[in-house]
Symmetry: C2
């Protein structure tokens, strides 16, 4: 008597639910079970800062689909508050605990997709267990931070310290300012956003300061200090900052322990190593999303760059292949975009520093040019930095300027993908009309400047 | 005794002043003279609708540099209100009339650059000489229309009719609404913006009607009717529309008569035929800007697509080569972008219809998808239409949606330039963050849909 083949997905957020849905789409006969440790599935965790800041009113707005939707419309059995505690790929089963009842059971699978995500890094400093110290990962975290911040503001206790100047730290700094807190960012490196070259990061510093955010750069967090079990300050290498609330946002690490314990190979950043088909080192196991690594298309090296859009794409590929398909994920350029108050910041490919680390000879050209026709209201200045090889091949790009100007990064993404040189970039027939761009688009101005620099001529 | 070599430029707006400036940059010894028929040089004529609508307050804001600037800072002799009446390339001189004094003289040149621009097409209907009938080309036209429209509104005479639904017609309709007029657009074709496929143009129709603009599509203008020498109505094939002001915006034609009379070859749209170095058929004469044709990079055919950004680029190339350089202009994709009230519209490459005219087999895929994360405030729906060959090669793209979403067209420009297929487009690591894009960017959704359509599978 043949039973239906069973696909089990561990993790029910971006990659997991994309994988499950794609597998169902291709194979109506497959039995599909998803185990999710938290109480929510299929939500946009990238939206949490906007929920904290109040732009998004209800956590439910972040949820794309509910477990019931998946059960009823897609015949996918979703188990929230179920933690997978061990996987046994050779024996084709895993162990799972119902976090509500405590009951443990074994679940067999034919194919397994690991979409276990990532979790915030906990820096090795004392005091992280104090009340008022937060991490941001789950919807539950967002709710807790928002409630706490609002309660503090109502009491006139407004001091917030964000440890970490990555994009989550920056988005959360803005959110905390929006709810009325006075925010300081403590960053160990001499700049925020380490995936920008210093010159571009300085523009972000200016914008943060313009909005009243205090920056303590090149200062490590040493200890969170408490008072009666509650946070009251943060000690850095250089000073003590009073704090009613501390948010720790020093990056994430992949939840790869289940895989590692099962003997599955890890790759970049200790994420689960996958090939372009999202296959792990075990033939019955795929991995996708923030727990998996990938390939950087410019450097050709393995990279760990967790991001919501990548998670969705990888999940879709894993689900398709788990259902017998042959989809591939082509790798990333490390594209990122972030709004920091009124400044848009975007980047793709390699920075000067990343190029050097990848052993590539690189130079960079930075220009500042109008984002629209000079006479059109709301025109601002857009900074464009192009990183290129000595032969002119584009290696990366960074932008900072008006929020509505930086989606231009997508043109650079396509150019990088195509392996263009700065000369070819200069040939692009980019869009022009006064409300959108000046006659010489900043991208073209940057390309021309780069061409001149390479040839050693003035413009 | 050797004299300095002399470069003469006919026309002092975008192409002409770019050419003169570039030539000066490369050759400090060149004698450079520019003759401009109007009273202004180096202005952004694309900004005129925004001047009429009041977003730009003074005509001077549209001017980039004055004749004095060119004379003093760049040693370029600029003569405004000077009309060149004949050119004699073989004999290396031209005839020019001072429009103020009426004085005629001959000017010798070694090299000539024709940047004579274009002028509005005058449709063959009676009544165009009535007071209150306007064309838009020069700064002077913009001033006249603004003054006239404001005066009419002050008298409660609010009826404006725009003949022509191209982008100038649309921008001017919005401008006239902004100053308080009730606007109707009369367009001979069944849609506005003939460089969009019908399905996309319908979105523009909706937006115009939403803002109170009446559309009379598929109706030719037959006669402008007057009363005591002033316009009072427009007769179309189907009706009589009362009109206090009529704007005629049915396209432009190149000012190529000087060249033609001198035996210089004309090309697409009766514009001056140029090669990629902006050389005309006469070795001593270059042409650039709205008077010159170009090559469409997708169809490979000659095309006449006058646009400010192209004029600047071509002018720069002509100026460089006139000074002994070897720059080239690589052709266009027909990229265009326009704001119509709250709708952004953009296009590049070929429409379905243009592909058919170029003898290319083409299909199209249109999708509608969120422009930002669904939970982020201000998210709207972006329509993306991809035109592609049976092999998946991208031939063109069109977009309509939120104004801040359509700069994505630049990614399609780069993709087209690189000759990408829709499969390759789908691989792009486009930027994602909630304020800018949803996890699946609309461009990727469109690419996937196109892939599915080509393969005959459902998503």
């Amino acid at each position: 008597m043949s039973r239906r083949k069973r696909l089990v997905v561990v993790g029910g957020v971006a990659a997991g639910m994309s994988a499950a849905s794609r597998a169902r789409r291709l194979d109506p006969d497959l039995e599909i079970e998803v185990f999710e440790r938290s109480g929510f599935v299929s939500y946009g965790s990238c939206g949490l800062p906007y929920f904290v800041g109040g732009l998004v009113r209800e956590p439910g707005e972040l949820v794309v689909y509910t477990p019931e939707f998946f059960r009823q419309k897609r015949d996918i059995a979703v188990h929230v508050q179920h933690e997978v505690t061990a996987i046994h790929p050779d024996e084709h089963y895993l162990e799972v605990r119902d976090l509500v009842t405590g009951r443990q059971r074994q679940v067999e699978f034919d194919t397994l997709i690991l979409a276990t995500g990532a979790r915030p890094v906990e820096p090795p400093i004392p005091g992280l267990d104090l009340k008022g110290v937060h991490f941001l990962r789950l919807v539950e975290d967002g709710i807790a931070i928002r409630e706490h911040a609002r309660a503090l503001v109502a009491q006139g206790r407004r001091k917030a310290v964000v440890i970490g100047g990555g994009y989550v730290g920056l988005e959360m700094a803005e959110a905390l300012v929006a709810v009325g807190m006075e925010v300081a960012i403590v960053e160990r490196l001499p700049q925020v956003m380490p995936n920008l070259d210093r010159e571009m990061a300085e523009l972000v510093h200016d914008e943060l300061r313009r909005h009243g955010v205090a920056l303590y750069l090149g200062e490590g967090a040493r200890a969170v200090l408490g008072d009666g079990g509650r946070v009251r300050a943060l000690d850095t290498d250089a000073r003590t900052l009073p704090a009613d609330l501390v948010l720790v946002a020093v990056g994430v690490r992949p939840n790869s322990e289940l895989a590692e314990a099962a003997g599955i190979e890890l790759g970049a950043g200790r994420a689960i190593k996958v090939d372009e088909f999202m296959r792990t080192s075990h033939p019955a196991v795929y991995a996708a999303g923030d727990c998996a690594d990938t390939v950087h298309r410019v450097s050709g090296r393995r990279a760990y760059i967790p991001l919501g859009t990548t998670a969705n794409k990888q999940g879709r590929v894993a689900g398709e292949n788990a259902a017998g398909g042959h989809a591939r994920f082509p790798g990333v350029l490390g594209t990122a975009i972030v709004k920091v108050f009124d400044l848009g910041v975007a980047r793709t490919g390699l920075t000067t520093r990343e190029a050097a680390l990848a052993g590539l000879e690189a130079a960079a050209t930075t220009i500042r040019h109008g984002s629209r026709a000079h006479y059109y209201p709301g025109a601002g200045k857009l900074h464009v930095r192009l990183v290129h090889g000595p032969d002119g091949r584009l290696l990366g790009a960074q932008m900072a300027g008006p929020v509505d100007a930086v989606l231009r990064i997508d043109a650079l993404v396509a150019a990088l993908h195509a392996g263009m040189t700065v000369d070819q970039l200069y040939e692009l027939d980019l869009a022009y009309a006064p409300p959108f761009a000046p006659v010489w688009d900043p991208v073209l101005v940057a390309a021309r400047q780069a061409m001149n620099a390479i040839r050693g001529v003035a413009d």
